[in-house]
Amino acid sequence: MEGSSVKAERPTVEPAASDFPRLREFGGIWSPEAIEEIHEKADLGRYQIRGQATKRKDFPSFDDLVFVPSGLSRVALEGYRERCDTQVVIGEGRVKRPLVLERPIMIAGMSFGALSVNAKRALGMAATRCGISTCTGEGGMHPEERKYSSKLVYQYLPSRYGLTPYDLRKADMIEIVVSQGAKPGTGGILLGLKVSDEVAEMRTLPKGVDQRSPCRHPDWLGADDLPVKLEQLREATDYAIPISVKVGASRTYDDVRLAARGGVDAVVFDGAEAGTAASPKIQLDHAGVPTVAAVGEAAEALRDLGMKEEVKLIVGGGIKNGADAAKCIALGADAVYIGSAVIIALNCHRPLYVDDYARLGTTPYECCHCHTGLCPVGITTQLPKLVARLDPEEAADRVTNFLNAMTMEIQLFARSCGKKHVNDLDGNDLRALTHDISLMTGVPMVGLNGRVPAWRKF
């Protein structure tokens, strides 16, 4: 065809959608973001991958609940004087060496590989000072992590990377991972730049490979096999330590029920807001049930089995502060898992090395580039030059401070509701701000005091 050989001149620099602020006013389904997303897929030929968590703002959240503290009808605890205990014990009366947590907080599974060794060291130090646990995540138990964490949860995953009978014996709890909230039903991703010599060695992989972990366990598939698998792991750990199952929140009632009946000491689930170092973006936004909606279901499943006291419920996914944690506990959790929050306490998103954020095409507060392995602040990277930017001692202090603040916040709500133990908080201490959240959680609506709404008469 005539003219087909004429090449159009292309501008070399393409501005980003954010350079056209007025575009936002157009609204509609073809927002600048939706357009940009299609352009990116048209360039890449695959789904987008990124770190962090969903950026959806329309999920129901713990912010839709408020506490109703004491007044005349209930008596508050004296805030600065009276004790308000925080200890939680997992596996009490079930195993020889239950896991004693001094606070109802656990640091969620994040692998060495996804995180740098300095990040692992810092989390270990902080957790040890606070008497709480850290978790290996995928990829095996790094000796430094074991050294710095006095209570270490060892994840048992489909990939079995780095798994040894010796490390199983060194663990303080085992968490059998079935799925995770950020990407339920799919396996992990660790892109090539993060598969360094050491990571490749620990996982028995070719260096620099884009690792895609399996999502199904190789040797057991469903609830029927679970008790046999559990017996194997109990044998491997001398019936000494608790074992939990972790699932991403989806069919939570059934999953929790099956896990508890299978014989675990704790059930862990994380909601759709849970974080990740790398995940298909589309899945972050469109798979799984938000945390606040799933807690009640999970607690109900345990109550229906008469196992609520015996089997502990650990809940994670988007928990940012003591209010989220206290509400989660009031809805039935025994402890909360925090991942993203402690990563942020380490220094994630800090406006240091701003030029390096810019080179990744982002800014400090928008960054979600953990998957690239080029974390400007040395947390989610394996490059020695970047890892060195995170000083483990200083970072451990920041995380300790954050954990202390969060614990005080949880106690603040418990005390103000008249509870001597944070785990005595219950659904009666809460009210819902919206109908939706009231329906989801069973918590009464604010202002109705349990009454049938007046408009029901019409």
Binding site: P158, S159, L163, P218, D219, Q232, T372
Partner: protein, 235 residues
């Protein structure tokens, strides 16, 4: 010096699994050469987490996860095995005289698992090192996501063989229903074949006439090479 005790016998009938495993662990720790295990009755989780050297002989069938999470153990099963036999073996050897069910030798890390009969689906899944040898046929998805080591199948292999393998090699004597993704068939060298024949002879397995050799073709190693390079260049 006390004489090394040569042999103990354990009758599983009427004993709890924990008791059986503790007996085996104690025997291994005491330096006993061999334990003969009677009446295994296809029970699950026999010989779990034994990490001192010992030889075990099971007179009968075993259930799920027999000889699993072990190191330095040499076991012989004079019968068939359930799912996940030799799971996560570090070093040592497990020989099954009959067949093995699904996921034989999952996540094998070293040593050797030999099944004289056939194996079910997903055998050698996520294999990290060592050898899995199958005298008969292998079920679908054998060698799925294999990372290193060798799988030798003397008979036929069902579909999705070696799917998504990262590395390692699979040798097949019989027919292959279908190759998995990212797998290439290459010529097996004479040295390779001589070694395989010698290895099989050691277990009294008749080698097939020849072997096809399968390796990872590398296409699944990177999601998209183009942007991997971009990331590399950013800093």
């Amino acid at each position: 010096m006390a004489a090394v005790e040569n042999k103990r016998t354990l009758d599983c009938a009427g004993k709890a699994t924990a008791e059986i495993n503790q007996f085996l662990r104690n025997a291994a720790a005491d330096g006993v050469n061999e334990v003969e295990v009677l009446n295994p009755q296809a029970r699950h989780n026999l010989a779990v987490s034994i990490t001192d050297p010992i030889r075990l002989v099971f007179r009968g069938h075993v259930g799920y996860y027999a000889v699993s999470l072990c190191d330095h153990v040499r076991a012989e099963i004079l019968g068939s095995a359930g799912w996940g036999v030799g799971d996560n073996l570090m070093e040592g050897e497990v020989v099954v005289h009959g067949n093995a069910a699904s996921a034989a030798a999952p996540s094998l890390r070293g040593g050797r698992v030999v099944i004289k009969g056939s194996v079910g689906p997903r055998s050698g899944i996520g294999q990290k090192w060592g050898d899995l040898i199958v005298g008969g046929d292998a079920g679908y998805m054998t060698g799925f996501m294999m990372q290193k080591g060798r799988i030798v199948i003397c008979g036929d292999a069902a579909g999705s063989l070696g799917d998504s393998m990262y590395d390692g090699a699979i040798y097949v004597g019989g027919e292959i229903t279908e190759l998995g993704n990212g797998v290439a068939v290459v010529e097996a060298g004479k040295e390779d074949l001589d070694e395989l024949r010698e290895m099989l002879a050691g277990y009294g397995i008749k080698p097939p006439k020849g072997f096809k050799k399968l390796i990872c073709d590398g296409t699944l190693h990177h999601f998209d090479k183009k942007d991997f390079d971009v990331w590399k260049e950013v800093l």
